[in-house]
Symmetry: C2
């Protein structure tokens, strides 16, 4: 971990992807992040993929470097402990990230009664508080009908929980921003981050909604064609699929050079009376005429012939590869200094990453694995809430904590 | 905008999605964000979708609430102005977000010579500095082969630039975190955020890489089936597609109740000797047996019959709808307080969002549109760099600024 956020204490009451990634990013920049869960684990504690012994590889990936406290949240005493944790004193504490309901026992008004300057970042599904998850919000935004081959009408969900991930990182930004405001005298606040608003705003930020308002319909499905520029997957003589991309004039020129089709493209430009170099949109408009030239050039050579020429020529391209191939790819996993092999709660040892960003001036500290569930219950009850050991023993005996 | 970051001055030298969204999130939380571009616009200035007059709806979506300075970055004097802007004095300045190359005229070491405590967040493609964009990094991570119907082997790219978006939000988090560290005496630093590392780390955080190491292969393509739990799109009697999701025991129970198939599922549990309620993974393992029960229940009713029952029963579900339908959906766009109709640089007036997060305690200020290119050149040269008007006039005359 890095130490930018050293000294901060963040409490996380969370499940699934968005709120846990928020806590993960904070922990990997040096904050102390205390996640509380129900005894036996929250709804994400057995989420697939699983290790052979049933431990969740998902859970241990998303909770690296955190402390874990287990509480019986079905009982008033357990809920009160959660409230006290979220609002415990300290200049750099009173920072809470959660996806618990906005109107439940972790409602902002209830917590503020315990700590007036609390910063609370709340992940939500729909903004009105109703249930929504990445899959259902995504379906409501039209993306599954824009995704996939043009000759297939079935909606295609994304495999990557993109809205959850964006929400988690945005929540980390919001939490640190609210802390900065608080240290400058603005007091605390709740920031709500509903997936539905994150999705709706993002589709507008990228121009999708303005386009739909202008044209009357959403962008049609077009397979892997890059909208408004030139790009697609092409197949080499040996059946490899490569993604080629040319948005800028430079990317376009380099692609034509490396493929040796500058002359054919010039002839097409003359025929159509256009210049593809300076207007990437024209490449998109006339892509049905351009594609055959590229398809033939790719089909004439093997990937082993094309790819060194692409790299030497500064072409923007990428091979489609499987994740198992990526694991041997030195650009991604193999020897990547982000990764370190550590032993995880599942008992398995495998490479795991620290902070996603890199700071050339700073030393990366060790990658810290996820805790065992409840591993830090006693430590946190003692150090953060100041409970005496006899009281902690009572809570254990009565099954309020574990 | 909100005012959490009021008083901060951030300079952005950027293009495309990741770095501009970082600046956008900062601006919408109250920071002054000054984006500089080449005279005539950077490589994203004409990016589709376009308005009828050729203005980019994409550019004006991603640069809302920023100031714009236009410089001739091909000339030494223009480059020097960019360096001076990024490093201009001020306690809450010296904050720079960019996707310019790590070893070029905006390299951290060059800028640090002008301002020792500079915070610089740098979006990159591949971590080694070579060209990579969302499309090509995604292809290298295996996701396109995991996405789409199981009966089609073609790789499916995502339409949403998920890696760019995650990187942009993460950069906003990193920038504010580094500012917080600087105000606490840690000095400045560069934080690099290569899409390749963001992608590699995320696939590990979610358990995809551990799963691949354990099984020897990446997760197979499985259409819209939710991995390790129960969920998929189902078709109603009138041909509507609805996404149904059941990860938690509660979600499962409510789905069975609303569809009236509890008895059939219990019979299947008895036959198989399993309990689906307590182990969502078993629902996935046996999904080929479960699907026909759900398909029949969906096919027996129209969407108009099913959806009120789903809502009343607390089912986690969502309709697939187009973006044009979403624009009339009160949960997303219509009457959503995030959105305000403003006039944009294209000359068009249409609804655009402010900050993606909501702060119930604070007033949302007005949504500020994107600037015209170079709209703030003179103001910024005068106020930030302190140039006298005669000098600014000379720079205009010589075409160094516009």
């Amino acid at each position: 971990m890095y130490e930018l956020l050293k000294g901060l204490r963040v409490v996380e009451g969370s499940a699934f992807v968005a709120a846990p990634t928020c806590g993960l990013y904070l922990a990997q920049m040096g904050a102390e992040v205390i996640r509380f869960d129900n005894i036996g684990g929250g709804p994400d504690f057995r989420r697939w993929p699983l290790a052979g012994n049933g431990a969740s590889l998902y859970w241990e990936g998303l909770n690296k470097g955190k402390k874990s406290v287990a509480l019986d949240l079905s009982r008033a005493e357990g809920r009160e402990l959660a409230q006290r944790l979220a609002t415990a004193p300290g200049d750099d504490a009173g920072l809470f990230v959660t996806n618990f309901p906005a109107d439940g026992f972790l409602a902002y008004d209830r917590l503020r009664a315990l700590r007036d300057d609390l910063v609370c970042v709340r992940v939500m599904g729909w903004a009105d508080g109703s249930q929504g998850m990445d899959y259902t919000i995504n379906a409501a935004l039209g993306l599954p009908q824009m995704t996939g081959p043009a000759d297939d009408e079935r909606p295609v969900n994304h495999v990557l929980a993109a809205w959850d991930l964006l929400t988690g990182a945005y929540c980390a930004f919001a939490l640190v921003s609210a802390l900065l405001a608080r240290t400058r005298g603005q007091g605390g606040r709740e920031i709500r981050a509903p997936l539905s608003d994150i999705g709706a705003a993002t589709m507008a930020n990228l121009g999708f909604t303005a386009e739909t308002l202008l044209t009357g319909h959403q962008r049609p499905r077009m397979g892997n064609d890059v909208f408004g520029a030139f790009g697609r997957d092409f197949t080499t003589r040996d059946g490899q699929k490569l993604m080629l991309l040319a948005i800028t004039p430079r990317q376009w020129a380099k692609a034509l050079d490396a493929l040796g089709i500058g002359g054919q493209v010039a002839a097409l430009e003359a025929e159509l009376g256009v210049s593809f170099a300076t207007d990437e949109g024209l490449r998109f408009t006339h892509r049905a005429r351009l594609y055959p030239l590229f398809e033939a050039a790719f089909a004439a050579k093997t990937a082993a012939e094309l790819t060194p020429a692409f790299d030497a020529g500064g072409v923007t391209w990428g091979a489609y590869q499987t994740l198992e191939a990526a694991l041997s790819d030195t650009r991604l996993y193999k020897d990547n200094p982000l990764f370190e092999t550590v032993r995880h709660p599942s008992g398995l040892s495998y490479p795991a990453p620290g902070a996603m960003g890199s700071i050339p001036q700073d030393q990366r500290g060790p990658v810290r694995p996820a805790p065992a569930l409840g591993q830090h219950t006693d430590e946190v009850l003692s150090e953060v809430l100041g409970l005496p050991s006899a009281e902690i023993a009572r809570l254990h005996d009565q099954g309020v904590v574990a």
